[in-house]
C-alpha cells in the first residue's frame, strides 16, 4: 500500500499566478516544476532494446502465408515506358502477383500530388519503380523480377536545377498545372519549377549601396542520404473485405494512412497502419516513400501479407534523399558591422518527384535570411524537378544545406569588416522581439546566451598549441535557427487511461525513432497526473486503428505539440479523479491533489490511493450505490495562430509556430601535409525552452553533432548522369566510432516557449544544422582557406591550401 504522503500545500496562499500546476490550460508553465520534468530518467525502452526483445518491422513473425516482394526499377533517368511484359515472371512457380502502374492511376503526395505508386507513362529517375512482383521466397521473387521485360524510350534528362529552369530544359512534369497542391506552395506550370517562394522586404538594392563590405558567393551543397541503420521495410495485406493492413517502419502512420488512402481513392478508415520501433528515421521514414508499393502488390493477392524490405543499395537512392542546393548568396554590412542586406537565390535539386521536397524549399525560403536581424531581404527559393532521386525531409529540412553556405558567408563578412566572428554574430543575430524576414515578431529566445556559452566553452579567445609542427589549429563558430515546417493545422491528440493497479497507459500517435519521445511523454503524463514515473507506460505499437491521431513524427514537434496533448489528457484524467474523490469526501476538488499516486486533501488531510477507484469508482456509504466509473483522460493540441504568407513578398504575421535557435563551435587541427582535419573538441548550445529530460537532450546534441561532422567530412551522393555511383557503405562513408570527437560539450539553454509543456520546444533536428559551417569556419581560422563545397575531405582541404599557396 502506498505510504502516507505529505499534505502540505506547495502552493502558497494568495498565489495569483495564472500558471499553476493544476491549470488545465496547456499554456501554463507551472511555477513549481513537478517531478519528473527536468529529470534525466532512464529511457523506458532501453531494457528491451539491449536484450534484443524490441520488435522492429522486419522482426514481426507472419508465418507461411508471407510473400516477398521485389521491385523492377527504371535503369534510365528519364524515359517513356512503352511496354511491360510480365508473362514469363507470372509463369514461374511460386510467383503470386505482378503489379504495375496500369492498375493504379491515383496520385500520391503530401504537399503536391505528383507521383504515382508505380510509374505509368514514364520513369523519371534511375530507380523509379516500374513493376513489382510477389513470390513465396525471396529467391523466386529475385528471379521473377529479372524476367519482367520493360521497353523504354529514353528522353533527354535534367541533372541540374539551374539547367532545369532554363528554357532549353525538357519538361519533366507536363501536367504540373493539374496536380493537387497545398495552398501555400506555388508551382509554375509549364516549367520545371514546382515551388517558388519569395521574400521581398525593404530595398536590398539601395541598402547594398550603403554597405562597406559585401560578400557574394555560390555554394553547391550535395545530396546526402539519411542512412538509418534499419532500411525501409513494409508489410501490406489486403483483406477480402476491403480492409488494408500495413506494418511499416514508419515515422508517420497517420500520414501514410491518409496519403495511401487518397492515392487509392478510398476512405482513410479502410486502412490500418501499425508502426513498431523505428531503427532510425531522420525524416526518411516520414510521408510515403516505398510503402505504397507493397500495398499495390498486396491488392493483387488478397489475404496474403506481402513484405518489401529495401536493400542497403536501394536505401541509398530509392526512398528519400536530401536535396542538393545550388545557392547564390550576397550579403553586406556597414562599417560598424551591422548587416544591412541579404539577397539570396536558392535552386534546389528537388529530384523526380517533389511532393515533399516543395516544402523544404518553402522552409528554406522563409528562414532564408538565417538567424539574423537584417532589415532588407530578398530571397528567391526555387524547387526544381530533375531526373535525380526523390528528395524528402531530412533532419533539418533545408536548414543544414542553407546554413552550410550562409554561415560561411557571414563568417567571411565578419572577416571583411575586421570583426571577430563571435562579436559579429552577437551584433547581428536575431533577438526576442525583432521583426524577422517574414515580418513575424520573434518570440523570446536565448540565441545570444547560446553564442556566449558556446564561445566561452570552446575558449574562443585562447589559441591552443597544435600537436605537431606540421599541424595548425583553428576555431569556428556557426549559429542557426529552425522552425517546425508543417501545415498550419498539424494536430496532436492523446488519451490516458488508468488501470486497476494504478498504472497509467498513455496512448499517442507519435513514434519512437530513438529520440526518446516515449520516455518524455511518460514523464509529462506522470508529472501532470501526479503519479510515479515508473507507473506510466506508453501503449505500443502505434496503430492507427487504436491510437489517437498524430500528424507526423517530424519537424522536432512532438515534445512541444504531442507533449501538450499528453499533458492535457493527463490533466483531464486528473480532473475526473479529483471530482470523483471530492464527491466521495464531500469536499471541493480545488483542495485536492494527487501526489505520488495518492489523492490527498489539503483541507481534511484524507488520503486514498488510485488503486481500483479509477476503474470501479468509490462506493457511497451504507450500500447506497456508487460514484464514478473508468477514468479516461483526453487531450489535443493544434496551433491556431499560424498565418499565410503573401505569395509575392513572403510577409505574414506569424509564419511559423516558433523557432529553436542555437550555436555550435568546433576546434580543429589541420594536417598541412595531408589536409586531414581532426576535430579536437566540439561545443553545442541550444535553447530548448525546457529540457524535459536533460540527458536525452544532450544525447540529441551529441548525436546531431557527429552526424553533422559526418556530413562535413565524408558525405555526398555521387550522382553521374543520374546514376548513383556510391550506393554502399564502402563508398558512402559515415562517421564511425573512430571519428567521434572525444570532447563534445552539450549546453542546454532554457528560455521558455510560451505554449510548450513546461516551456519545452524541439531539439532533434537543430543539433546537426550548423556543423558544416562551424567546421569550415574553423578550417579557415586554422589555415586561412575555405575549401569550397562540402564535404571537406582531406584531398579538398589540401588542394585548397595548395591553390592558396599555403603549402607547396
Amino acid at each position: 500500500m502506498p505510504k502516507k504522503v505529505s499534505t502540505k500545500n506547495p502552493r502558497p496562499v494568495g498565489d495569483e499566478s495564472p500558471r499553476s500546476v493544476g491549470d488545465e490550460s496547456p499554456r501554463s508553465v507551472g511555477y513549481e516544476i513537478p517531478s519528473p520534468i527536468g529529470e534525466s530518467v532512464t529511457r523506458i525502452d532501453a531494457h528491451e532494446k539491449v536484450t534484443g526483445a524490441a520488435i522492429f518491422a522486419d522482426d514481426i513473425q507472419f508465418g507461411p502465408n508471407l510473400l516477398f516482394a521485389r521491385i523492377v526499377r527504371s535503369p534510365h533517368p528519364h524515359a517513356l515506358i512503352k511496354k511491360i511484359d510480365a508473362s514469363q515472371a507470372l509463369a514461374l512457380p511460386g510467383v503470386k502477383a505482378v503489379a504495375t502502374g496500369a492498375d493504379f492511376p491515383g496520385y500520391l503526395g503530401l504537399y503536391l500530388q505528383d507521383r504515382h505508386i508505380f510509374c505509368r507513362d514514364r520513369a523519371r529517375y534511375i530507380g523509379d519503380p516500374v513493376a513489382g512482383v510477389a513470390a513465396v521466397t525471396e529467391e523466386i521473387a529475385d528471379q521473377a523480377a529479372a524476367l519482367i521485360k520493360v521497353e523504354y524510350e529514353p528522353l533527354p534528362p535534367v541533372f541540374d536545377p539551374e539547367y532545369g529552369i532554363s528554357p532549353e530544359a525538357p519538361l519533366l512534369h507536363p501536367r504540373l498545372g493539374e496536380y493537387q497542391v497545398a495552398n501555400f506552395i506555388f508551382p509554375e506550370p509549364g516549367t520545371n519549377i514546382c515551388n517558388h517562394f519569395k521574400i521581398r522586404k525593404g530595398d536590398v538594392d539601395e541598402a547594398f549601396k550603403k554597405c562597406t563590405a559585401i560578400v557574394e558567393r555560390k555554394y553547391h551543397v550535395p545530396q546526402i542520404q539519411h542512412v538509418p541503420i534499419e532500411t525501409h521495410v513494409v508489410v501490406a495485406r489486403a483483406d477480402e473485405g476491403d480492409h488494408l493492413t500495413i506494418w511499416a517502419s514508419s515515422q508517420s502512420p497517420f500520414a501514410q494512412r491518409d496519403l495511401i488512402a487518397k492515392g487509392l481513392g478510398i476512405s482513410q478508415s479502410k486502412i490500418q497502419v501499425i508502426a513498431p520501433y523505428v531503427g532510425g528515421g531522420f525524416g526518411s521514414k516520414a510521408g510515403v516513400s516505398m510503402e505504397a508499393l507493397a500495398v499495390a502488390i498486396a491488392l493483387k493477392v488478397k489475404g496474403r501479407p506481402v513484405k518489401l524490405r529495401l536493400t542497403r543499395e536501394e536505401e541509398f537512392y530509392t526512398a528519400f534523399v536530401r536535396q542538393s542546393l545550388v545557392g547564390y548568396f550576397k550579403m553586406g554590412c556597414d562599417k560598424d558591422g551591422n548587416m544591412l542586406a541579404i539577397d539570396n537565390r536558392y535552386y534546389w535539386d528537388g529530384g523526380a518527384y517533389t511532393e515533399y521536397g516543395v516544402n523544404m524549399t518553402r522552409a528554406a525560403g522563409y528562414s532564408g535570411s538565417g538567424p539574423y536581424d537584417v532589415p532588407n531581404v530578398r530571397i528567391d527559393s526555387y524547387c526544381v524537378y530533375t531526373n535525380h532521386p526523390v528528395t524528402g525531409p531530412m533532419r533539418g529540412f533545408g536548414m543544414p544545406e542553407l546554413h552550410a553556405a550562409l554561415e560561411q558567408c557571414t563568417d567571411e563578412l565578419a572577416h571583411e569588416i575586421g570583426m571577430d566572428p563571435v562579436e559579429f554574430r552577437l551584433k547581428n543575430c536575431v533577438r526576442s522581439g525583432d521583426i524577422i524576414a517574414t515580418g513575424m515578431k520573434m518570440h523570446p529566445i536565448g540565441l545570444t546566451e547560446c553564442i556566449e556559452k558556446a564561445s566561452k566553452a570552446i575558449e574562443w579567445d585562447k589559441k591552443s598549441k597544435p600537436s605537431a609542427p606540421n599541424k595548425k589549429r583553428g576555431k569556428g563558430i556557426a549559429i542557426m535557427w529552425k522552425a517546425p515546417a508543417m501545415p498550419p493545422n498539424a494536430g496532436s491528440s492523446a488519451y490516458v487511461k488508468l488501470n486497476e493497479d494504478a498504472t497509467v497507459s498513455v496512448n499517442i500517435g507519435g513514434q519512437e525513432l530513438g529520440q526518446g519521445t516515449f520516455t518524455v511523454m511518460a514523464q509529462i503524463a506522470a508529472a501532470a497526473l501526479g503519479v510515479p514515473f515508473d507507473t506510466v507506460k506508453v501503449s505500443t505499437p502505434i496503430d492507427t486503428k487504436y491510437s489517437p491521431y498524430e500528424w507526423q513524427t517530424v519537424a522536432s514537434r512532438l515534445t512541444w505539440s504531442m507533449g501538450n496533448a499528453v499533458r492535457a489528457a493527463a490533466l483531464d484524467a486528473r480532473k475526473q479523479i479529483l471530482e470523483l474523490v471530492a464527491a466521495s469526501w464531500g469536499e471541493d476538488p480545488g483542495n485536492l491533489d494527487i501526489k505520488n499516486g495518492t489523492v490527498i486533501s489539503y483541507k481534511s488531510e484524507e488520503q486514498i490511493s488510485l488503486y481500483n477507484i479509477v476503474i470501479y469508482g468509490i462506493p457511497l456509504p451504507n450500500d447506497q450505490g456508487w460514484l464514478g466509473g473508468p477514468i479516461t483522460g483526453r487531450g489535443n493540441f493544434m496551433p491556431t495562430y499560424v498565418t499565410g504568407l503573401d505569395k509575392e513578398t513572403g510577409q505574414g504575421a506569424r509564419a511559423v509556430v516558433h523557432y529553436t535557435t542555437g550555436c555550435q563551435a568546433v576546434e580543429v587541427e589541420v594536417d598541412t601535409d595531408t589536409g586531414k582535419v581532426d576535430v579536437v573538441r566540439a561545443v553545442a548550445a541550444f535553447d530548448v525552452g525546457k529540457a524535459i529530460n536533460p540527458e536525452m537532450v544532450r544525447s540529441q546534441m551529441e548525436g546531431g553533432m557527429v552526424q553533422g561532422l559526418s556530413t562535413a567530412f565524408f558525405e555526398a551522393l555521387q550522382l553521374k548522369n543520374g546514376v548513383l555511383t556510391n550506393p554502399s557503405f564502402v563508398d558512402y562513408r559515415i562517421a564511425t566510432s573512430t571519428d567521434a570527437p572525444s570532447d563534445i560539450q552539450a549546453i542546454i539553454v532554457e528560455v521558455p516557449q510560451d505554449d510548450g509543456p513546461w516551456g519545452a520546444r524541439g531539439i532533434g533536428e537543430h543539433a546537426m544544422v550548423p556543423t558544416i559551417p562551424a567546421v569550415a569556419n574553423a578550417i579557415f581560422d586554422a589555415v586561412g582557406v575555405r575549401a569550397g563545397n562540402p564535404p571537406y575531405s582531406a584531398e579538398k582541404v589540401y588542394l585548397a591550401m595548395l591553390d592558396a599557396g599555403i603549402v607547396k
Binding site: D59, Q61, S699, V706
Partner: protein, 156 residues
C-alpha cells in the same frame, strides 16, 4: 540449392537446423530460428548490425555461411544476460544513455562483450577500434564508448 542439416548451439541451447547451402548465419538465426535480436543493416559486412559471437569471436553473421556453423557455438544479444541478470555492457549502455533507436545496439553489445572478454582493460583507442565495424547513426558513439569504459571498470 542443396539443403544441409547442421547442429549448433545458440545462446546455450542446442539446435538442429536444415539450411540451404547459400544461406547466411544471419538468415538462419532470423528466419529459421526466429532469433530476431540480431539485425540486418546491409547484407554486405559493412555496418555491423548483424554482429554475433561465433566460437567466441565477433563476426558479421551476414558474411558467414550457415553451413560453416556446423558444430559451432553462437552467442547473440539474447544470450548476453544470464538468468535474467544483464551483462555489464548492457547495464552500462543503459546508464550511459548509449541507446537511442536500438537498431545497432545488439551488434554493438556483442562487439563490446567480445572486446572485454579478450582485453578486460582496453584503452579508449582500443574501444573505438573494436567498435569501428558497428555503425551507429543516432548516438554519435560518445555514450557507447563511455559505457564500455564503465563496464571495463567493473571487472577491476
Amino acid at each position: 540449392m542443396s539443403m544441409h542439416k547442421i547442429n549448433l548451439t545458440v545462446n546455450g541451447s542446442k539446435e538442429q537446423v536444415d539450411v540451404p547451402s547459400n544461406w547466411t548465419l544471419l538468415q538462419m538465426l532470423r528466419e529459421k530460428l526466429a532469433v530476431t535480436g540480431t539485425k540486418n543493416g546491409c547484407s554486405a559486412g559493412e555496418c555491423g548490425a548483424c554482429t554475433v559471437m561465433l566460437n567466441g569471436e565477433p563476426v558479421n553473421s551476414c558474411m558467414v555461411l550457415a553451413v560453416e556453423c556446423d558444430g559451432a557455438v553462437v552467442t547473440t544479444v539474447e544470450g548476453l544476460a544470464q538468468d535474467g541478470k544483464l551483462d555489464p555492457v548492457q547495464e552500462e549502455i543503459i546508464k550511459a544513455g548509449g541507446v537511442q533507436c536500438g537498431f545497432c545496439t545488439p551488434g554493438v553489445l556483442i562487439s563490446a562483450r567480445a572486446l572485454l572478454n579478450r582485453n578486460p582493460h582496453p584503452t579508449e583507442f582500443q574501444i573505438r577500434d573494436a567498435l569501428v565495424g558497428n555503425l551507429c547513426r543516432c548516438t554519435g558513439y560518445v555514450r557507447i564508448i563511455e559505457a564500455v569504459k564503465n563496464a571495463a571498470q567493473r571487472s577491476v
